[in-house]
């Protein structure tokens, strides 16, 4: 396994590996997304209390879950970059940030749209939405910090430090927002309560979560490939590949 991770650090090996992976994963992702969306939109029964508006859950929850996971991918790549000075880890981190930010924004927007028919307002400061908003700020901070540095190698290391601090902070933030919310709300009203979800609704949700994970991976790999093709344009291995194509 260590040799595999070692090989990932080599741009030409990674480029070849990711090319094959993307060729399979992209169509799989599209299929999973389509099947999941159709299942959730058209096949699954409506919710007893919320009616058909609950169907937004099939994009809101997967986006939110993968957005949070994406931050950990980014921070982990940053840690690898800082500790072992592996350039490919920098590339991974840089590729993950905008994907995670977009997914967080999607989670927030879909959450707001879901809120309107459910609670009557476009925005409610409940624990999950508020935590998502802070996650968005954390992502945007990493992106802004990267853009602000002229020296991009230093930029990557700065972002690695920042995302690591963010990663440590995220559980604390989520927990504190949770407590903040429960302190200010009377116990009888719960905007996003935990309720048992029926299996006819659970399976399409799980499928969509898997689909979004695949989507994140595909987008991450594509972003990394795009960067490699440009930054390594003078290197022999890439020229060889282009010449052979």
């Amino acid at each position: 396994m260590w040799t595999f991770i070692h090989k990932l650090g080599s741009p030409p090996w990674f480029f070849g590996f990711s090319g094959t992976l993307v060729r399979w994963l992209l169509p799989i992702t599209v299929i999973l997304l389509l099947v999941g969306a159709v299942w959730g939109l058209l096949v699954a029964p409506p919710d007893f209390r919320q009616g058909n508006s609950y169907r937004i859950i099939y994009i809101h929850v997967p986006a939110a879950v993968v957005a949070l996971a994406g931050y950990y991918v980014m921070a982990f790549a940053g840690a690898v970059s800082l500790i072992w000075r592996i350039k490919m880890a920098d590339v991974t981190m840089r590729a993950a940030a905008p994907v995670g930010a977009v997914l967080t924004a999607i989670a927030l927007v879909t959450g707001a749209i879901w809120g309107k028919p459910t609670w009557g307002t476009w925005w409610v400061w409940d624990a999950r939405i508020t935590s998502m908003l802070i996650l968005l700020f954390l992502y945007l901070g990493v992106v802004a910090l990267f853009e602000a540095y002229e020296n991009k190698t230093a930029a990557a290391r700065a972002c690695a430090v920042l995302s690591l601090v963010g990663m440590v902070n995220i559980p604390i933030i989520y927990k504190s927002v949770d407590w903040w919310y429960s302190l200010h709300q009377p116990a009888s009203i719960k905007f996003t309560g935990e309720s048992a979800i029926d299996s006819s609704m659970l399976y399409p949700l799980l499928l969509m979560i898997v689909a979004f994970y695949c989507l994140f991976t595909v987008t991450l790999l594509l972003n990394m490939r795009a960067e490699l093709v440009w930054t390594h344009r003078a290197s022999g291995w890439l020229k060889q590949l282009v010449g052979d194509s």
Partner: protein
Amino acid sequence: MYFESLSAMWHMDGHGFYVWLAYALTLLPLVIMIWLPLKRIRQHWRWLEAEQRRTAAATQTPAMGSDV
């Protein structure tokens, strides 16, 4: 299929606007997120191919004389 007709599917008992809006606003960024890097890779690849053709041409034809 839960819905009985196409118009029922569109309407979703009054919630259609929200559901379809949410799905559309999700689909759009996802498509863009996949299309943008693919486009970049294609562009750079073509640039590299052109670059290789240029260097190949340059090495094959010796430099033109000054009598042109």
